[in-house]
């Protein structure tokens, strides 16, 4: 249960060397390490198993009975045909484009608006600062599902239903993002900003040339979180999109399962296609996700 993930003894007084015994410094019993790996793999199977089963189903050919018992774990004649069939069954390619477009818009809006709002909250003093911050933070507690009904009316009133803008805009700026960026800005040394202020550089340029470049990990975290959230969003698109040409991937996958429910090869193939981009982003940004994200969250 110990935390031994940080760089080890270097900075510790030599007397602490005793504790190294358990940090695998030659003394760690091989049996314990093996046991740990066994546990790691067993748990990993629980998490990856359903994905593997889905992939296996997606790669089974039409001649195979996918409902047979006992289930066949591996496809007998693995094929990629089902993935092609998805594109014939539904306009999946345009769902991809739609999802990508909405996600790109939401990510850019969040990066700009959240970091703009976070700057004065982190670095300026002005009337109403604390109340504004409190109101922003407390909106994190509001369940979206409660806001959905009036949001739908507002979207209809603004003519935003059935449009990508309407789909995106409730995600365009989140309190979570503002909070995250504010935490990042708070850690930037004041001196950098002050010397620029003395030179007469405007606040906007300081934001762009000093604050943003020094907050890249936070910006990356925000981008990835927004992307994953918007990419997987289901309820709001379900409510606001009627026009099937404007469906995003989750709606498309849902439609696929509604229309071809019995053909699990096809449904599985569609489901897998729809998560490939998220997985790619995740692999690319894993270090931000798993370490950077919550550093300031608790102590904040």
């Amino acid at each position: 249960m110990q935390s031994d993930d940080k760089p080890l003894p270097r900075m510790r007084p030599p007397t602490a060397g005793f504790a190294n015994r358990r940090y695998g410094g030659g003394f760690a019993p091989a049996g314990q390490v093996l046991l740990r790996y066994a546990a790691l793999i067993a748990v990993a199977l629980v998490f990856i198993g359903p994905f593997a089963w889905l992939l296996s189903t997606a790669m089974k050919s039409g001649s195979e009975n996918i409902f047979q018992y006992p289930p066949q774990f591996l496809p007998q004649q693995p094929t990629f045909q089902n993935f092609g069939r998805v594109f014939q069954a539904l306009p999946f390619l345009s769902y991809f484009v739609n999802s990508a477009f909405v996600a790109a818009m939401a990510v850019s809006c969040n990066l700009v608006f959240c970091s703009l709002a976070a700057y004065p909250l982190a670095r300026m003093s002005f009337a109403g600062k604390n109340p504004i911050f409190l109101v922003l933070i407390s909106t994190m507690m509001l369940p979206f599902q409660l806001l959905m009904i009036p949001l739908y009316s507002i979207a209809v009133a603004l003519g935003l239903n059935n449009s990508f803008l309407g789909l995106m805009i409730p995600h365009a700026c989140t309190a979570f993002g503002i909070f995250l960026m504010r935490q990042a800005f708070l850690t930037i040394p004041h001196q950098l900003e002050e010397s620029a202020r003395v030179e007469g550089v405007s606040r906007l340029r300081i934001w762009w040339h000093v604050m943003l470049p020094l907050s890249k990990p936070a910006l990356a975290t925000l981008a990835v979180f927004t992307f994953v959230g918007v990419w997987g969003d289901f309820l709001w698109p379900l409510v606001i999109m009627d026009d099937q040409a404007k469906f995003t991937l989750p709606l498309g996958v849902n439609k696929l399962s509604g229309a071809f429910g019995k053909d699990w090869r096809l449904v599985a193939a569609g489901a897998i296609l729809s998560i490939i981009p998220t997985i790619a982003v995740f692999l690319f940004a894993q270090r931000f996700f798993i370490s950077g994200a919550l550093k300031g969250a608790v102590k904040g």
Partner: protein
Amino acid sequence: MFRKLTPYLFLCPAMLIIGIFVLLPMASALVISFSDYNMIEAHRFAGLDQYRRLLKDPFFWNALYNSLLYLLVVVPVLSFAPVFLAALVNRKLPGIAVFRGIYYLPVVTSLVVTGLMWKWVYEENGVLNFILRNLGLMSEPIAWLATPSVSLFAVMAVTVWSGMGFYMVIYLAGLQSIPKALYEVAELQGVSRIRQTLFITIPMLRPYIALVAVISSIAAMKVFDEVFIMTGGGPLGQTETLVFFVYQNAFIEFDMGYASAAGMALFAATFALSVLNLMLARDSGYAKR
């Protein structure tokens, strides 16, 4: 003069968006809940009628009951199980990042896909029944999602499965914040590993456990996607949660006033839970940082 406006200009876009798309809807949800509104005719003031209807509606009580049961099962599991997961991956071993990644994978997977995936796993002739039968854990296959007595728990399991990785990361940060000196002293004094866990690790993790309890209870009250995809609220309304109830009344029945009243009940429940959680955290003396 302009100087004084600067902070507000920075805040302006964010405040506009949050104002129009969060604060305004919040206020208008309250107004709609006091009215009879179906999107076609104009609002008609209905006082507390919608709330009275709620109190008499067995479907509402059923949904509330299901949501609370959801909470009572899912929150304790999600508050403690990920601690073990975090402890498991909190080791510098070759390949550990891969395991962390695998455990986190469900978190980034859209719930629509997760729901479909598990629906397929839960099939009567599916892998789960096969595995459980082969392990000798049961003799007859179960239709997990179609059997009223187990369906809600089957959906809960999916919520837990997809959330574990997220909470694991929070606890990982928690474990890594515990000063190693504590363990070193304990080790020198011959304190057993189990006692180290009980008297160092768990107490030091208290603020993190409180945080996870708050986040996971808010999340548990909002469950929708899994239910929609896997069961559609069935069998016999056994998996109908509060959010599902709100969705159905609002966007299937177009009974917006009634749905908003149910939404306000959902909000009240979420709010009360968060306050309760925070109070408990404060009582244990750890929320002061």
